[in-house]
Symmetry: D2
Subunit: 264 residues, 4 copies
Amino acid sequence: MNEYPTALGASSRDAITLLGHDLARDVMGEVGFGELAFWLATQRRPEPGEVRVFEAVLAALADHGFTPTAMVTRLTYLSAPDSVQGALAAGLLGTGSRFLGVTEDTGRFLHDVLAGGRLPMDDAGWDALALRTVTAQRADGRFVPGLGHHVHKDGDPRTPRLMQIAREEGLFGPHLQLFAAIGRVHPQVLGKTLPLNGAGVCGAALADLGLPLPLLRGFALLARTAGLIGQLAEELRHPVANEIFLSVDLHNRSVPPDPWIPEA
Amino acid sequence: MNEYPTALGASSRDAITLLGHDLARDVMGEVGFGELAFWLATQRRPEPGEVRVFEAVLAALADHGFTPTAMVTRLTYLSAPDSVQGALAAGLLGTGSRFLGVTEDTGRFLHDVLAGGRLPMDDAGWDALALRTVTAQRADGRFVPGLGHHVHKDGDPRTPRLMQIAREEGLFGPHLQLFAAIGRVHPQVLGKTLPLNGAGVCGAALADLGLPLPLLRGFALLARTAGLIGQLAEELRHPVANEIFLSVDLHNRSVPPDPWIPEA
Amino acid sequence: MNEYPTALGASSRDAITLLGHDLARDVMGEVGFGELAFWLATQRRPEPGEVRVFEAVLAALADHGFTPTAMVTRLTYLSAPDSVQGALAAGLLGTGSRFLGVTEDTGRFLHDVLAGGRLPMDDAGWDALALRTVTAQRADGRFVPGLGHHVHKDGDPRTPRLMQIAREEGLFGPHLQLFAAIGRVHPQVLGKTLPLNGAGVCGAALADLGLPLPLLRGFALLARTAGLIGQLAEELRHPVANEIFLSVDLHNRSVPPDPWIPEA
Amino acid sequence: MNEYPTALGASSRDAITLLGHDLARDVMGEVGFGELAFWLATQRRPEPGEVRVFEAVLAALADHGFTPTAMVTRLTYLSAPDSVQGALAAGLLGTGSRFLGVTEDTGRFLHDVLAGGRLPMDDAGWDALALRTVTAQRADGRFVPGLGHHVHKDGDPRTPRLMQIAREEGLFGPHLQLFAAIGRVHPQVLGKTLPLNGAGVCGAALADLGLPLPLLRGFALLARTAGLIGQLAEELRHPVANEIFLSVDLHNRSVPPDPWIPEA
């Protein structure tokens, strides 16, 4: 007979446990939500400083205004107001490679560079490693994840702030070190100065917190769930989705079919 | 030209604001994630006591072990490991009327009973209102939302705990009052004692916090997003989804088609 | 030990069956896709006339241009191009009560009116039943599902066409009869003439085909899946999603938070 | 002012067009559903032989019994029966890289091998190309997509059947040629004989039909939508989802947390 082991929620007639603790007595009222999310993902309870950095990341990613995902949640709710879960799920489905994927890509990239090597001892060492890294990416014709932003061209205000918080909490680890060094040295290689973007620094910070790399995107999704609830709450009172829909529908223009011809 | 007003995220070349505050300076590192989620949903910053009750609710709803939604997230990840967002979205789609819907149903139900009426002054008054309420539901052949649990038949441990936390924070409002009174009086009407369940008390507490009723289900979804990330993290290291799949697939039994005959 | 019976797909080392038939020999190359979808849903193979009516319904519902669901699929693909399944799923999530839900609502409504009663013998009988039906809805302050269209105010061209096809195939059954009669008599009650809309007539036709009422929305979803693939194919070659996104993002206007105040 | 051109659905007060044709007059009742899906994706109307091959592919992919995606749709419906669209969308989200992704991977792989080269003139030429292809994959330590099946170890019955249908319709093009040749020559390289699987041959056939490669997965999703409606229809009458849920939930075993330790 199969058995399915789990350290997450379990319940008997009288008790409910979560992560080996009594849910009602030890978790409810005692553990903040960011702390709990971290704990669930790692099965270890984070330190207060870790929680602060983690929650700063979630704040940085929660809402970016009228992004495609926000529009998707509002339009889905317009079309199917009977299903709040559908509207949120639809919005989350846009959290892929292009928008919030940067967080995961940056964390993984920095981790791969660091994997197996000895860590530099000082800033000069970090700069040297960063220089090799950026040079190698360029030689391969690849971007450096986390570098560049289409709006915050002179600097993304989230980046220095998250670095500062991580320093305050003694959590400015190797991923952030390398990311900061990339920020210092890349102009030598690329011939122009690009900002370290907020999604990227979040990936670096999450990696320094020791969170599972394959799930970094998951934390962006968690942050965004809170943001999308905010979008729905605003849509309920100050709706814009129908206006967005009409702005497109009223300006569609019928054109003849353009038959698809496969490339040889 | 259309304009789309929003009080949520906004950014210019140099600055990012969220809810009218400077995101980097005033939100990151300063605002916990539960607090931020509350703020995003209501556009008002909650008091510390409100945050504690709110986060206790989120803890109560975050993970209930191998629920259908947890199984769905694990099975979807098994089948499409390239899309963490798809696995989480699929799990959230199960957060509907039957499982986590109780939270919303209870909040709405209590609110409808209270709407427009004068609030009772004391426990006797609450009991009388609860008695009328349960009696009316029964006469209509309808269940009282939040009453009964298929496992915790002698009492759901989350219920007294959340009530205690709400009292400690001075947030034991009319929805919790009425819900508690229903717990006291329903045996007189129904002839048996049922537990006030955890999903229900969460709905009562969220309603007392003044959160938007049409979005109560959204908070269950937020809590569950954290739980589902935990499920994925566990699945990554101690996978069970393939075993679950095989336990079904290996015991399927082919039967002849059973043609559907519409009812007259 | 549990066993899970099914009449759908099954396979052994050497053979694959579907609905009790050899998939490779008897289904592939022999059964059209509309026919197969009908067969899967009802576990009975439809007659050619039933297939024609069914496929006419699917054609009527497949694509309606820049609907919210089409926009959602395009925007999700813009944001997460790595996941075609996510873009399609997101679009389908908008197929709820407001847009395509009319199909299901109309089918259910007509079925409920007909349930258990004796069927009229002639047009006069149908008109009398329709008159009672519309009058009762009006007295209850409820709309008649399938009546009215915000664009095709003088008549939805799909309605007479689908009725004609159903007549040609001898499948103009009681649901279509009642729906047609509602079209004739409602001006007497409502004091104005509204069109019978295409989504509604599709629901009536699907009900007359004996398809399961709780899944009528499912057929709208099937039709729409084909339409959304068309939307994605067009987006790949003639993209508009980014322009739609920018048309909103560039015209957002930051406003102060508007704190939510719960109704008493 | 933006304008959004489209060749898909468009409507005016009096008329509805789809792909440049009058929907009611020229499409409804005249165009089968498989044919329409092809047309929507390519903006060209397929020939009858193309429709037959296309619908054979859809039949091959529609339902494979108790797959993870089928289980997901049933479990989601159990949990949220109010949202058929959510149950279908959840199931589709599992149509990713592992299960139905093979169709797309195989089509793309064959296309990449063929791209830009001169096509072989005879079977010997195809065999030589296939030999180079399999050898190169092996040298890179990569699998050949579409080769191998965990159940149909001696041959997948869908493969010869689809090849036969394509031959009958004069649509046995270069992708199928190369795929067949891979089936003939791979034992020389791999030292064992693997079956050409059904998902792979479907990808080859879709590529030969000239369908857009980035959307090949979309056709698997379309086929699967029909299959998942069948799964829901069966679940409605012969439910098994609750039994599946309980078979897991009753055999969960609580284990202590296993803290995540990041790799260095």
